[in-house]
Amino acid sequence: MAPDAEPRRRGRTYIDDEVVSVIARIAAEQVEGVHQLGRSTLRGMMARLGRTGGVDAEIGLKEAAVDLEIVVEFGHPIREVADELRETVIETIEATTGRRVIEVNVYVVDVHLPRLEHTGRTRRVE
């Protein structure tokens, strides 16, 4: 290695998958219509203990890819929410890490339903 080489040529910067998961989570939470990331089941809670729940990211030296599990707010068109989510996540990861995002998969696992005021299954008895 030449001593006068640019600093960025003197070694490599590795980014952990978990860092990308956190970045993706923060970006996803800002998207309107996304109620939460990950399932609200026991498995989801347990997964959150070990990893960033609802986000599975992979990053190399040049590229990154992300899988997202989301719960969508009822009333928001899912296609639009997912499109905006993918755009936001791609922009944020690329701007933050400098890696090109090659894949963002979105899995809508559930829908968050607001309580019905007058009727419905959310309130069987008073």
Binding site: D17, G50, F74, A82, D83, N105, Y107, D110, R124, V125
Partner: protein, 214 residues
Amino acid sequence: MNGASSVSGAGLDVRSILDRLVSSIALLALAGVAALTFLLALGVLSPAQLGGGWEPATRLFAAPSSLAGWPRLAVLGGSLVVGLGALALMVGRPGGSGSSSFGGLPRAGHHVVTSDDLGFVVVDTEGVRAIVERAVLGSRGVVECIADVRGTGSSPVRVILKVGVRPGTSVQDAADLAREAARDAVERLLGLEIRDVSARVSVLDADELGRWVA
């Protein structure tokens, strides 16, 4: 990831594999200890069996099997929770045998909203069902709705509705409104193609109505 693409320049494979291997072994050990504790507390295994004649081990294993009453129940419950938790973490963690990656496209129980070069967007059938039911419950006169959603992957969705309405509601109108609400929810909110919607409407009697309406 699940699509055809793989991340280039992924230079941390060995470290990543080691990390996953170590944590998987640790979780497996935790699940094993929890299972042994559970079986000892349940009385299925005896301390002598596990200790193999080694006195300190036999004494250690005797602890959970000597419990009775509430402490025994607490140990049983605690070991069950810890064991299942360890297994859930093992299955749910990235890179595990049941990775939280979605495992390819399409999968049974998923409806494909988008699939392009950059990946895919899928909705779980439960999500589709929840959206349809809530949309139908917003229709005039409808008190109860159970939706059955069929047709997964990229195929058009079929919706079968079982609707309960208030006495005095026109069954024909309720059926039309319910079907329209379901169709609108699938097309507008989900962006999925719909094949057909069928509705079976029943008028709830006073008792049934009392169950559903506060």
